[in-house]
């Protein structure tokens, strides 16, 4: 099976039902994407699958064959992603930082789809959990990135 990740096509030997998260972390070796709960509750594992924010812990690798997967490692290669990261730094958003890869990917997906989201659209898209409670800084960073787009 082949997987296209960050623009590169790789042969994969994991079992087809292996979660995409663990293929990325253990077989491909990109560890920016995080395991938090494994049941699509927290969103720390968020990656983009054909541009759509996807919780990779419950997404089998077989189900994304032929799709284009983007991880946090490539986020700054994208103009919107770069803007999101800059806003994240400007708002000093991360604390422990463990959830922030997923948060940045969710924000990037939102702004690529909806460049000028209103507060309801931000709330609807930014549902990942943060145990440090950086939610206000996250919302401010999304608004900042949108304003600068």
């Amino acid at each position: 099976m082949e997987l296209t990740i960050n623009g590169e096509t790789r042969r994969i030997d994991s079992e087809p039902d292996t979660p995409l998260l663990w293929v990325i972390r253990d077989e491909i070796g990109l560890t920016g994407v995080k395991y938090g709960c494994g049941v699509a509750q927290c969103g720390a594992c968020t990656v983009l699958v054909d541009g759509v924010a996807t919780r990779s812990c419950v997404t089998s690798v077989a189900s994304v064959e032929g799709a284009s997967v983007t991880t946090i490692e490539a986020v700054e290669e994208d103009e919107v992603g770069r803007r999101v990261v800059a806003a994240w730094v400007a708002e000093q958003t991360p604390q422990c930082g463990y959830c922030q890869s997923g948060q940045v990917m969710a924000a990037t997906a939102l702004l690529k789809e909806t460049p000028k989201p209103n507060d309801e659209e931000i709330a609807a898209a930014m549902t990942n959990l943060c145990r440090c409670g950086t939610y206000n800084a996250i919302a401010a960073a999304v608004r900042r990135a949108a304003a600068q787009g």
């Binding site: 079992e15 995080k34 991880t71 986020v75 604390q95 422990c96």
Partner: protein, 746 residues
């Protein structure tokens, strides 16, 4: 409580003998720390070899200045979001004269140089890092600067008195010559520690007290930050475990062993103490295999220690606490509370409770162990106390401490999770599996295993009685805190002394009540308990400050005005209460109708946690039977500060966790097992429930207090007090999600 009082960090008072034998499972592993805490004049055996080192003084142990002028700081404290690595770059940079942005900070290895807390120990906790080491680290930076000046004097052949520094370089104004730090770092590091090195005057601070940017923001926004769970070493295998449902049970027969051994990637299957493990080439393969095992769990042997009873339930234990009679151990006693209570013209009483809570740090626990050919052991695992882990690992594996290298990664949240709690860390499993397989092994716990083996915030009950005088003012107060605190559990407690972590937030409140008595009724908790952000304050300030509103209501007083009245002789607290009132636009209790048509009310609470003082106001409405928190205003006085931006962020964070505990969180045990095993059944605060948070920082000049935890304790009572205004009924149990909240009263 202030920075040099061990109680500020929730340690037993100096000199407390520690009864280790009461809990066999403590064994020798905590001995070094306990001795260090209890016998400050002597040194523990583990520290004996290092007795000549004065912690926090040897510049080269902490700092490396690179040829390009950038600085590596080996931090005694772990970074887990609270911003300490940035704060220490500010503090040291200020005195060393290096821009904090030029710093890289990593956790120091175990070693005598790093025992900087009270000059004898090292932990990251108790909101203690900056306040315990502010002066030590300033002096360290100043020493470094002096050594650089001395090295520059030699190099330039100029008198020391003619040299000054500017950020990153020594300047000889008379000749116009400049020497970058990077060019003289090696010579400077070889010099003896200067006996005197002047500290910068506070009025000249460039970075201390300023909102300096965090050093880790970009790495943490781009996935580059590396946590323990991400680590790999050459030849590493990965392991997943399944624990026995109850502590004390042991693995018996495995029905399908052969089948599981043949699953993809599986290297080996192991029975471990209280658990089974599968080692595989990749973690998911290990997890799939271990969760396929059909294990018969054996009931504990009769002499087993540390056993979870099969019939334990949180509800049953709560009832047990409620029914346990006093008297307890006296934690506070002023006047004649019993007599005054009897005589008081008006009396009230109430019983409060709060549940077990999970830490819920988003990074599940992991540990990576490697046995080396020379018999030494490397261990990478999240921890808040590397020397304690080193001592424990050495004792458990028949090694000398110096044969154990502890590597302390960034923490993906901690909140008290990563102290040494019996059976609550994967590190013994990683060590055992690495030994058994002859390969480095990384163990990662699933979220489900984490919920099964976390050391929870204790469930607790408080009983209150109060007597009011003819004007409705409290004159007699009697409280009993029932249960067990983590500090007594893990650091020991004199039989006749209350556990400070069980009574903090109820004892020593600042209000002028003439007769008051607080007792700790000790009831051991069968569940594993640990420190949770703001520890005893996390529940006790809820109990006290909510009951305070009951006293106010019974006496016909407004709760904000009554607090002001009873703090009339406490200028620091009064200023804080007035500040939060002003920050919120002036105290108004409600109910009132907001612009969006919702009916709202406000609640107020005070707390004195970890050397800081805090006043909190929350604005609440009710919707579909639930509390909606719109705004939280927090005035915090940590005495003096290092980074106001980080403090504001920490207050936001503490508000989120405090609100999460008030609204949603509860670990429920039935039949000896926690019911919830993931965030679906144990909800934590989601983004849509995050209120606006408004912070005002006051610097009273009092001894420096903590920052990471103090924002939390005022939130649950402020919210519950506001809810009571709307419902007309007093809720005395958390979380609020257990109740159907509807507006009542007039």
């Amino acid at each position: 409580m202030n920075d040099l009082d061990p109680r500020a960090f929730d340690l037993p008072a100096s000199g407390a003998p520690v009864n280790l034998s009461r809990r066999g499972f403590l064994g020798a592993s905590l001995g070094a720390l306990v001795l260090g805490v209890s016998l400050p004049v002597k040194v523990s055996r583990a520290q004996e070899a290092a007795a000549k080192v004065v912690p926090g003084t040897r510049f080269p142990a902490f700092l490396e200045i690179n040829p390009d002028g950038s600085v590596l700081f080996r931090s005694p404290f772990m970074e887990g979001g609270q911003g300490v690595h940035t704060a220490f770059a500010q503090i040291i940079g200020e005195e060393l004269d290096v821009d904090p942005a030029r710093f890289t900070v990593e956790a120091a290895p175990p070693g005598p140089d790093y025992l900087v807390v009270m000059g004898m120990m090292r932990i990251t906790g108790g909101s203690f890092s900056v306040r315990s080491s502010y002066q030590t680290m300033r002096k360290l930076g100043a020493s470094g600067r002096m050594m650089l000046l001395q090295a520059a004097a030699q190099k330039l052949d100029a008198p020391l008195e003619e040299l000054t520094t500017e950020p990153g370089e020594v300047v000889h104004a008379a000749s116009g010559r400049r020497v970058p730090y990077g060019e003289i770092a090696a010579e400077a590091a070889a010099l003896p520690i200067p006996e005197e090195a002047p500290l910068r005057d506070a009025s000249d601070f460039r970075w201390i007290g300023k909102p300096v940017a965090r050093l880790d923001a970009h790495d943490k926004s781009t996935g580059k930050a590396v946590y323990g769970i991400d680590l790999k070493v050459e030849g590493m295998l990965q392991a997943a475990v399944v624990h026995a449902p109850r502590r004390g049970q042991e693995p018996g027969e495995i029905a399908n062993l052969t089948e599981v051994e043949a699953m993809p990637g599986v290297v080996s299957v192991h029975a471990l103490p209280g658990a089974v493990a599968v080692v595989a080439d990749r973690w998911w393969r290990a997890r799939r295999a271990v969760e396929s095992l059909e294990v018969s769990w054996k009931e504990p042997e009769a002499d087993a220690t540390n056993v979870m009873p099969a019939d334990f339930s949180s509800e049953g234990f709560k009832q047990q606490l409620i029914e346990t009679p006093g008297p307890g151990l006296v934690a506070e006693n002023h006047g004649e509370a019993a007599t005054a209570l009897e005589k008081a013209p008006k009396k009230l009483e109430a019983v409060y409770d709060a549940p077990f809570l999970a830490h819920g740090q988003l990074e599940p626990p992991s540990a990576l162990a490697r046995w080396n050919e020379d018999g030494t052991l490397d261990l990478w695992t999240p921890n808040q106390a590397p020397e304690m882990y080193q001592a424990a690992v050495a004792a458990e594996n028949d090694l000398k401490p110096e044969q154990v290298r502890i590597h302390s990664p960034l923490l993906g949240g901690f909140f008290g999770r990563h102290f040494l709690y019996h059976g609550a860390s994967p590190y013994p499993q990683a060590i055992a599996l690495a030994k058994a397989t002859g390969r480095p092994v990384k163990v990662i716990w699933t979220r489900e295993e984490e919920f099964l083996r976390d050391a929870f915030r204790p469930l607790a009950v408080a009983r209150f009685r109060a007597g009011l005088d003819a004007e409705g003012l409290p004159e007699a107060f009697f409280a009993e805190a029932l249960g067990e605190g983590p500090t007594g559990r893990w650091f020991g407690r004199k039989p006749e002394d209350p556990d400070p972590s069980a009574v903090e937030g109820i004892a020593d409140k600042p209000y002028a009540i003439a007769h008051r008595r607080v007792e700790h009724v000790v009831v051991p908790i069968p569940a594993m308990i640990g420190w949770w952000r703001s520890v005893g304050h996390s529940m006790n300030d809820f109990f006290y400050e909510a009951f305070f509103d009951e006293m106010a209501a019974a006496g016909g007083h407004d709760p904000y005005e009554l607090r002001l009245k009873l703090l009339a002789d406490k200028p620091r607290h009064k200023a804080l209460l007035e500040a939060v009132g002003e920050l919120s636009g002036g105290w108004k209790r409600g109910p009132f109708t907001a612009e969006d048509g919702t009916r709202r009310a406000r609640g107020v609470a005070m707390a004195s946690p970890f050397g800081s003082e805090v006043a909190t106001i929350a604005e609440v409405s009710l919707k579909d039977g639930e509390a909606v928190v719109h705004d939280v205003w927090v005035a915090i006085d940590p005495g003096s500060i290092v980074n106001p931006a980080i403090i504001e962020a920490q207050v936001n964070s503490a508000v989120a966790l405090g609100l999460s505990s008030a609204l949603l969180e509860e670990v429920v045990y039935t039949d000896g097992e926690p019911e919830a095993r993931n965030f679906d059944a144990y909800p934590i605060l989601p983004p849509e429930k995050m209120p606006r948070v408004h912070v005002r920082i006051l610097e009273s000049g009092a001894p420096m207090g903590g920052v990471g935890e103090p924002g939390l304790p005022g939130v649950p009572p402020a919210v519950v007090n506001a809810v009571a205004v709307l419902t007309g009924e007093r809720i005395r149990s958390l979380p609020l999600s257990k109740f159907d909240l509807t507006e009542g009263g007039a």
